[in-house]
């Protein structure tokens, strides 16, 4: 078992009037190489949970083990373990601080003690992974980039560390549709190649449908669903209960079902939903 979350509780501002319980006795097990999506409304504890997985917060109660060692503990072993977990924050402003894109992305690899040739190779690779042209952007100041481009730089700086566990918090917010698809495809391909563990926090159910095989849903600090992607994302009742949007293809299939048509509803992507409708309506394109 790669990661074990045991009875994890997190309370912010405990003992003050602003006390807020963010996580309540969460238990999870994550195997090496899994691709996991985490969803839930604002305030459900998603960001708190992933910060715990990266060892950035101290549990109020319970613990998080990475390969059997509490990740938040003091000492060299835990510190080494924390370096293997890369967390890309939702707001790039929170993590970007260097003068040029190159130096920003090189910061992590340099900290790993790699030589400059390897650092440069990793920077180029990471920028290409996120769909930026290294030649065009390497010497620009990060804050002169557009919002979407800045976010890609922030992500590249985490990828360049080649973490064993990669955690992405809303990786595609502010990205144009094909940039977002390309990014997901590349991260997905790299994950399969390296068998890295991938954890993605997202409201974008279509992104999760493309990228992950298991989805964990949180609500008010508790795990309310944990299962195969297709099963969780087509659970219309669950999605509505936790305030999430039903993907439009699922909403369409659901409406057709209510109108008496025998369609399956667990088809999230437009191409899948179109094939399902074509099958039931007996169209030529039904075999895909």
């Amino acid at each position: 078992m790669l990661i074990q979350v045991e009875n994890l509780t997190h309370i912010y501002n405990q003992g003050t009037p602003f006390e807020r319980v963010a996580l309540r006795e969460v238990n999870l097990e994550i195997e090496a190489g899994e691709r996991i999506g985490i969803l839930g409304p604002t305030g459900s504890g998603k960001s708190t949970l992933v910060q715990h997985l990266a060892g950035l917060l101290k549990p109020t109660a319970g613990r998080v083990l990475l390969e059997g060692t509490p990740i938040h503990s003091k000492g060299a072993t835990a510190r080494k373990l924390r370096l293997q977990v890369g967390l890309a924050f939702q707001y790039p402003e929170d993590q970007i601080f260097e003068q040029t894109v190159f130096r920003e992305v090189a910061f992590g690899p340099r900290n790993l003690g790699l030589d400059e040739a390897e650092v440069a190779a990793r920077v180029n690779w990471a920028l290409e992974m996120v769909g930026l042209d290294p030649v065009a952007v390497a010497q620009r100041m990060p804050f002169t980039l557009s919002g979407g481009e800045m976010r890609r730089v922030a992500l590249a700086s985490i990828l360049a560390m080649r973490p064993r566990v990669l955690i992405l918090d809303e990786p595609t917010a502010g990205q144009d549709p094909q940039g977002r698809r390309a990014l997901l495809d590349k991260v997905g391909a790299w994950q399969r190649e390296t068998n890295m563990t991938l954890i993605v926090v997202s409201h974008a159910l279509e992104d999760l449908a493309r990228l992950v095989e298991r989805v964990i849903a949180l609500r008010e600090g508790r795990v309310v669903a944990d299962g195969p992607t297709r099963q969780v994302l087509s659970d219309v009742k669950l999605l509505r209960a936790i305030g999430l949007d039903v993907p439009q293809p699922v909403a369409l299939l659901q409406a057709l079902r209510q109108a008496g048509k025998e369609v399956r509803v667990d088809r999230f992507l437009p191409a899948e939903a179109a094939s399902e409708i074509a099958r039931v309506w007996g169209l030529r394109g039904s075999v895909t």
């Binding site: 409304p41 604002t42 305030g43 939702q90 707001y91 402003e93 003068q99 040029t100 190159f102 042209d133 030649v135 065009a136 952007v137 390497a138 010497q139 620009r140 100041m141 002169t144 557009s146 919002g147 979407g148 481009e149 809303e170 917010a173 502010g174 990205q175 144009d176 549709p177 094909q178 940039g179 977002r180 409201h203 279509e206 305030g243 999430l244 949007d245 993907p247 439009q248 293809p249 909403a251 369409l252 409406a255 057709l256 109108a259 008496g260 048509k261 437009p270 191409a271 939903a273 179109a274 409708i277 074509a278 309506w281 169209l283 030529r284 394109g285 039904s286």
Partner: protein
């Protein structure tokens, strides 16, 4: 009558930001041309969506509409006022409000009502007029009950509504929304989109909505598409989204329902034109 927004051959070049000592390769160096001759008119009361890939110039264009940026060449008129005339700047900013992506960067005060009052106070209005405007603005976004709240106690969607109320308190004719929902969860997104729709339909506010969500763009009466600093499409959503191949070539996408409809049509299912929503599709199929 002149249109509310008139843009004529607008060009904008960002000054070079490359630090002089930066080593390594130079990315073509020099200036970044963001807008390459944009022509556009928008009438009072329109609801217009603006889409385009990252870096196509959407935000740069938006920042010209309230004189946050001034044209390198060409001109922008707001309600007949040329933005590049220095004495028009405040009138232009009163007429066109802006709401940005990240609500946390737009909130300045310690309570909701103080935050909304910030603009009117800066305009030097009398106290009772400020009170009146703040209450109206908070009522318009449905946050009157939250007026005493510290903004950080609100959800992302509510914070964005505070930012909208702040824009409304200046009594603008137009509000430009620059990806107002891309950092919100679905509940927040619905709150913000419902509010935008209502402000347009009921208060007659001209809306320019910049978005990466094709479903959001489909809510507008008119969709503009930018690519590499140029306006490349302009029309009602049903017409613009018919050009799926062209949009894909631009790195854009179709709203999921339009995508499904076009696939089914390609497979020989007759569907009426202009299917945009789940309901349209169910009506067509059942």
């Amino acid at each position: 009558m002149r249109p509310f927004i008139e843009i004529e051959n607008l060009k904008y070049v960002y000054p070079s930001f490359i630090p002089p000592h930066a080593g390594g390769q130079r990315g073509g160096g020099g200036q970044i041309v963001a807008l390459r001759g944009v022509n556009l008119t928008i009438e009072q009361g329109e609801f217009v969506a603006l889409i385009g890939p990252n870096g196509s110039g959407k935000s740069t264009l938006a920042r010209h509409l309230n004189a946050l940026l001034l044209p390198t060449a060409g001109a922008v008129w707001i309600d007949g006022l040329r933005t590049s005339d220095a004495h028009n700047v405040w009138a232009v900013r009163q007429k066109v409000g802006m709401v940005f992506q990240n609500p946390d960067n737009q909130i300045v005060a310690t309570t909701v009502e103080e935050d909304v009052a910030f603009g009117p106070e800066n305009m030097g209005l009398p106290a009772d007029e400020i009170r009146h405007r703040v209450d109206d603005a908070l009522a318009a976004v449905g946050l009157l009950d939250y007026r005493q709240y510290p903004p950080q106690m609100l959800s992302g969607g509510q914070k964005q509504l505070v930012a909208i109320a702040g824009a409304l308190a200046a009594r603008p004719s137009c509000i430009v929304f620059d990806e107002p929902t891309s950092m919100l969860d679905p509940v927040g997104r619905r709150q913000v989109l419902d509010t935008i729709r209502r402000l347009n339909a009921e208060e007659g506010i001209t809306v320019l909505l910049i978005t990466h969500s094709m479903s959001e763009a489909a809510m507008a009466q008119r969709v503009l598409v930018m690519e590499a600093g140029r306006m490349v499409m302009d029309g009602p959503p049903a017409i613009v989204f018919e050009r799926g191949a062209r949009l894909r070539a631009l790195g854009l996408d179709l709203p999921p329902i339009v995508d499904i409809a076009q696939r089914l049509q390609a497979w020989g299912l007759p569907l009426p034109q202009g299917v945009l929503t789940v309901q349209d599709m169910v009506d067509a199929l059942c």
